[in-house]
Symmetry: C2
Subunit: 110 residues, 2 copies
């Protein structure tokens, strides 16, 4: 396995969208849709990166330069269609929290 | 497996601490320390809950009523000792981001 990498983020302030989810047993089309969303989101102006893990809960935090970029991505047509599929099929429940990052700190074994 | 549960959070504003980490191959004492930290943090005034997952990266988001509660927990002696152990032993790298949650949304299959 390639060692996972922690997202690089700029000096605060910037924004984080915290998406926490539980899944159903029906993941038809899920992985292809996630690959497509990762491809699309990476092209978004204001998108800074993402940290994500799943073990029971899925916890995905995406980073953004400003709130307008978050809202524009939320309203993107293809993203909205995938969100609808998620509600119909993949997710049991989820929460979305939009937060302004005020301080950050990073440590690495040298 | 018990179905995982998404943390319940109050109406914004409140605070989130986003902790993202990579691990080493030496997890000696890690799980016992995490159990102890979960026990301690749950007793903290201002602690609201936590969402956590690990798959390669670990992504843990804890929720707090205010920044003073976050700082007090950061400075807790036993927590500080465990953080030192983490740097010596368990973690390859980590980031900590303190953010003010401004909007939140929750969906659940009914």
């Amino acid at each position: 396995m390639v060692a996972p990498e922690i997202a690089s983020t700029p000096e605060p302030p910037y924004y984080a969208v915290i998406f926490v989810s539980t899944q159903t047993d029906n993941l038809d089309g899920y992985h292809a849709a996630m690959d497509r969303m990762e491809e699309l989101v990476a092209q978004r102006p204001g998108y800074l990166g993402m940290d994500s893990a799943r073990s029971g809960l899925g916890v995905t935090v995406s980073y953004w330069s400003d709130e307008a970029a978050i809202t524009a991505w939320r309203d993107d047509l293809e993203h909205s269609q995938v969100r609808e599929l998620g509600r119909e099929r993949w997710y049991g429940s989820y929460s979305v929290q939009v937060a302004r990052v005020e301080r950050s700190y990073r440590w690495s074994r040298s």
